[in-house]
């Protein structure tokens, strides 16, 4: 591991001031915030991340889950994933979020990982994690060996000729379906970013994964008032039953009245270069009868733009069946 200076900023302002000196907040950042460590320390051991300053923000007072004005929820960036998943209000009113978190990682990692850190979770693409290999995300312009190499687990939605890396988060898929907002405090002040705008598609700049700039600190994530009544399901399909990243997952929020779908939000995981909200599926579902025919049409719509790589054509059908089954499970709730 490279040498770095470890700093525990006294407060939020000090953390932001120190981080504002960074050259970038994206890949290659020379200043990094340290929350739970589950991504950053892993990647520092691999020399994928080589910050010269590490700002430990794990003791900043951003560890609360509060009711938000107007009926929503305000989740501090340092709230641990396990605390969020086991929060009574989250379990009752934002169940898809609790389900998604509890299907991710392990109990130990959920005890460590923070909400802000999970938003910034990095891809598991083996080429990104191996500094002996080329990778456009890690070293822009060096090439993408995944396109002609091992790409079984990589993205079928939102990829570019530069990068096909999958976003690995489960939590983010639920946050996309819940239409969360990311709150950022930066050197220039505070701003709120709609969840769908927070992560960026790789395009020609796969090293840029989010809208974050130097000095930007995620302070909390807010959820709008809960959809009541609604049926919520997170279904995750993977190579083993637990402690594995998704090959395909689906977050479903559904309201059914008199057999018809009156409200729905759909997001997919394990298939996109970012947490994948599917407006196409939502359109195909809204106002239609809640039955298998409708669900399959929604799945076809959600994966309509899917482009397979050499090893992952199976993920298109897998994702369709994942969404269809998640919708069935939601109806049965």
């Amino acid at each position: 591991m490279h040498r770095y200076e470890y700093i525990r900023p006294a407060d939020q302002a000090a953390a932001i001031a120190a981080a504002a000196q960074a050259t970038t907040a994206q890949q290659g950042a020379n200043v990094r915030f340290l929350g739970g460590g589950t991504t950053l320390i892993d990647l520092m051991k691999l020399n994928v991340e080589t910050p010269t300053r590490v700002l430990d923000i794990s003791r900043l007072p951003l560890d609360r889950i509060d009711a938000a004005p107007g009926g929503g929820l305000r989740i501090g960036a340092i709230v641990r994933n396990s605390d969020l998943a086991n929060d009574a209000k989250v379990q009752q009113e934002y169940s898809v979020l609790s389900q998604a978190i509890l299907q991710g990682a392990s109990a130990q990692i959920r005890n460590m990982a923070t909400v802000g850190g999970n938003l910034l979770q990095r891809t598991r693409c083996v080429y990104f994690r191996d500094t002996a290999m080329a990778c456009n995300k890690r070293e822009p312009g060096s090439g993408c060996p995944a396109i002609t190499g091992h790409n079984r687990t990589l993205a079928i939605l939102g990829a570019s000729e530069q990068c096909i890396a999958t976003n690995p988060s489960d939590m983010c898929v639920a946050l996309a379906a819940l239409e969360a907002t990311v709150h950022i405090q930066g050197a220039q002040g505070a701003r709120a970013v709609a969840f769908g705008d927070f992560h960026l598609l790789p395009g020609n700049t796969p090293q840029r994964e989010t809208v974050l700039e130097p000095g930007d600190l995620i302070t909390h994530v807010s959820l709008p008032p809960p959809i009541v009544p609604s049926k919520q399901v997170y279904l995750k399909l993977r190579d083993r039953a637990s402690y594995e990243f998704a090959l395909a997952s689906a977050a479903v929020v559904l309201t059914i009245e008199n057999g018809n779908i009156t409200y729905t939000r759909i997001a997919l995981g394990g298939v996109g270069t970012k947490p994948w909200r599917s407006a196409e599926a939502e359109t195909a579902l809204t106002g239609r009868p809640a039955n298998d025919g409708t669900f399959r049409q929604a799945a076809e719509a959600a994966l309509g733009a899917a482009t397979p790589q050499s090893e992952n054509r199976f993920k298109i059908e897998l994702a369709k069946r994942c969404l269809t089954q998640a919708l069935r499970m939601a109806v049965a709730r």
């Binding site: 040498r3 470890y6 340290l34 589950t38 392990s106 109990a107 460590m112």
Partner: protein
């Protein structure tokens, strides 16, 4: 630990430290040096300054350890190399196996993905602090009774994880236990007996 001081009864640790003549002398020196450093630290003596080292106090198994440590040192390496608490094991060192599981402020975490400096002032429990051979934690007794291991390398992590699980929301059946224990890999495949051990402790609690 005490066996290390008895040359007439060589054990595995001692053999690895003093045997293996094919090992380069420099590596040997470094290894023995670490051990000496560890022993020194364990005895509460001042340790030689390391460039960039920062002073911290870790409360481990109810004992305060005031040390200076390179900020790159993981909690796992600090426990094993600096403080000679080798009950916590290093498996993958990347958060994928659970062998390094310890408790921080009562919750199970992976010591390989934590820096020691992050835990200044925190309450840390390792397998050495969970029970003693004379007064084992119920989970240790259950693992012994159910033969919940083969090679034993993952066992301290499994037991630390299982002991923490007792205080976590967990459904009553085996499936729930397996899900919450999925972060602890056992390559010998002692899973069935591990689940049986945990369920016995939960039922008798």
């Amino acid at each position: 630990m005490t066996n290390d001081d008895q040359p007439s009864r060589p054990n595995r640790r001692q053999f690895l430290l003093t045997g293996g003549s094919a090992v380069a002398a420099s590596v040997m020196a470094a290894t023995v040096g670490d051990e000496a450093h560890a022993a020194q630290a364990a005895a509460g003596e001042a340790v030689p300054a390391v460039e960039g080292a920062v002073p911290i106090t870790l409360r481990i198994n109810s004992t305060d350890h005031s040390i200076r440590i390179d900020p790159r040192t993981t909690l796992l390496d600090c426990l094993r190399e600096t403080l000679a608490l080798t009950g916590t094991k290093k498996g993958c060192d990347h958060g994928q196996c659970g062998a390094c599981t310890v408790h921080v402020n009562g919750r199970r975490v992976l010591s390989c993905l934590n820096l020691a400096v992050m835990h200044d002032g925190h309450e840390i429990t390792t397998i050495e602090g969970l029970g003693t051979p004379e007064a084992m934690h119920p989970m240790q007794t259950a693992f012994y009774t159910h033969d919940a291991y083969q090679c034993g390398y993952c066992t301290s992590g499994q037991i630390m994880s299982a002991a923490a699980l007792l205080k976590e929301p967990c459904g009553p059946d085996d499936t729930a236990v397996k899900e919450l224990m999925s972060g602890n890999i056992c390559r010998c495949g002692a899973y069935a007996n591990i689940v049986a051990a945990i369920q016995q402790v939960r039922k008798s609690a």
